[in-house]
Symmetry: C2
Subunit: 110 residues, 2 copies
DNA sequence: CGTATTTATGTCAGATTGGACATAGTACCC
DNA sequence: GGGTACTATGTCCAATCTGACATAAATACG
């Protein structure tokens, strides 16, 4: 695993350093995380594009600023379900979401 | 909402008929369901392509036959997270998953 | 610098989801 | 009909996720 990838994962709260490296972050799981981070990044981009603060978006989603922060960080405590609902709520079409998921594809086999 | 769409949603356990039609199945929510159903259908297609029974796939996913049935049905009780993990586990690349999500796009504005 | 705004992190009770089990339904073959 | 293989549905409770809150950290602006 290269440094950039490790940094991405660590930033999102996924332990990577220790002996569990190859046990917990198996290929599927890391692909899953990559997808999650791609969606999270997409959400942030869209929010900023719309000139909204996290608090404003939270209101639109009927949620809280802290959860939006966690969504955008791809935190362990948020599901992809919530990310997808949020993206749809902010106006992303399924096609755009598909494009985001493709981003995760290019990061395979790191 | 046309009959085919309504049938898809009803089959998956989403109430549609009554007065809540436009309150609960708002655009975002129905897009979300469409994505879910597209992923569910994709999972079934891949499983069958691989010649696996639901029970065999369940074993591979360390889950149960009943949950696989619900996954493929897009049941309320399964999350998109689980669908995505399952798709990855069965060998779908993020690119293929993106393609599935695009399917949901063509069903907009029904 | 101070302070106002925005974003990040930690925690918790209530809600949702997941694996497992039982059981019902379906399809095919004899 | 009965038997076999597969799929669907309903129900548990343990595990995970969510919104909310408090508060810390970062950033912007004078």
């Amino acid at each position: 695993m290269n440094a950039a990838k490790k940094a991405r994962l660590t930033r999102a709260g996924w332990t990577t350093g220790d002996a569990a490296e190859f046990l917990d972050l198996t290929s599927e799981e890391s692909q899953f995380v990559e997808m999650k981070l791609a969606l999270a990044a997409g959400l942030r981009e869209l929010r900023e594009k719309r000139g909204l603060t996290q608090a404003e978006l939270a209101q639109q989603l009927r949620s809280s600023q802290s959860r939006v922060a966690k969504l955008e960080a791809g935190d362990r405590s948020v599901s992809i379900d919530l990310l997808l609902r949020s993206l749809l709520a902010i106006g992303a079409a399924p096609g755009e979401i598909a494009k985001l998921i493709r981003r995760a594809d290019s990061k395979r086999a790191a």
